[in-house]
């Protein structure tokens, strides 16, 4: 009986280690809203540009979206521990975001990029970021978004301007708005589950 109790206690210790390690790796940070925000920002830029203010529309909208993302994400992450995976994700998106901003702003000012090349470059870069995140998180849904973006880049290079724009708008809707909302739903479910788990005392 004592042996059984001791064995159970040792087993409990091992389970406690596994449970705590898993909880440490879990993040309660939400990122779905960022996808939706940037999807809306792109649509605003496109609509604003269509009205004939493209030189102002893109930089203003992108800077505003960047500021909102930086402020809101720093608030939501306060108190959350830093993890290597989290830092890797930030590195991917910050790197791609800054590259896109610098390249597209410079090319836009100098008028070195037509609409199709612009869509192809944006789609290819978003494809890389989604693919890297999808591989890192082992998340097929995000990798699927990467495939959609890459297909858009190819269509933009080979298709007509109208086809390129339709592909771009469709990818934007699927990979930013739909994927962002899907991510928000998953995050809400995860938070609910975690709240249930942490209500029990661990120690």
């Amino acid at each position: 009986m004592t042996d059984m109790t001791e064995r159970q206690e040792l087993q409990d210790r091992l389970s406690l280690i596994e449970q705590m390690m898993a909880e440490g790796r879990q993040t309660t940070s939400s990122w779905g809203w960022v996808f939706v925000l940037w999807g809306i920002a792109y649509y605003i830029s496109i609509a604003w540009s269509a009205l004939g203010h493209s030189a102002v529309a893109w930089p203003v909208t992108m800077i505003a979206a960047s500021i909102i993302t930086a402020v809101a994400s720093s608030r939501s992450r306060s108190g959350q521990p830093g993890t290597t995976a989290g830092r890797a994700m930030s590195a991917i998106w910050i790197g791609v975001g800054v590259s896109m901003f610098i390249l597209l702003l410079s090319a836009g000012i100098k008028g070195r990029m037509d609409a199709q090349t612009f869509i192809a470059v944006v789609a290819a870069m978003l494809g890389s970021a989604n693919a890297a995140s999808g591989i890192l998180l082992k998340w097929r849904a995000q990798f699927l978004c990467a495939l959609v973006w890459w297909a858009t880049a190819v269509v933009s290079c080979f298709g007509s301007e109208a086809q390129s724009q339709i592909a771009g708008m469709t990818a934007l809707f699927l990979c930013q708005i739909v994927f962002g909302v899907y991510m928000m739903v998953l995050e809400a479910r995860e938070r609910k589950g975690q709240a249930g788990k942490t209500s029990g005392a661990h120690a």
Binding site: D3, E6, R7, L10, Q11, R13, L14, L16, I17, Q19, M20, M21, A22, E23, G24, R25, S78, G79, Q80, P81, G82, T83, T84, R87, T198, G200, A201, H202, A203
Partner: protein, 105 residues
């Protein structure tokens, strides 16, 4: 149980063996650093007990504490040290060995 078998079994590190200290070290092993408030929320412990257990881990050299000010607010963060990680690995190995022996007995 034969004597040589009893002596071959490893001893569990008493500093880590406490449930709360074990939970804290396990949590810290999966993050780069964590705030006191986050550790409190994850373990459901009281401030006093958590502080005392973290101090024991710090005294053993298993965790490192850093106090800083973020936006004028004091913030205490903890991170596992190399020896803390090694001690946790050894503890897990010892646990597995003891469990294996218990199954074999």
């Amino acid at each position: 149980m034969p004597e040589e078998l009893t002596t071959a079994l490893p001893e569990l590190n008493p500093v880590i063996h406490g449930k709360l200290r074990l939970a804290l070290l396990s949590l810290l092993s999966s993050v780069e650093e964590a705030e006191f408030t986050w550790l409190r929320a994850k373990t459901g412990s009281t401030d006093g007990n958590l502080g005392a257990q973290l101090l024991k881990l710090e005294e053993a050299g298993y965790v490192a504490m850093e106090k800083k000010f973020v936006l004028r607010k004091p913030q205490t963060t903890y991170a596992i040290t190399a020896s803390g990680r090694e001690a946790l690995t050894d503890y897990v190995q010892a646990l597995k060995q003891l469990l294996g022996a218990a199954i074999g007995a």
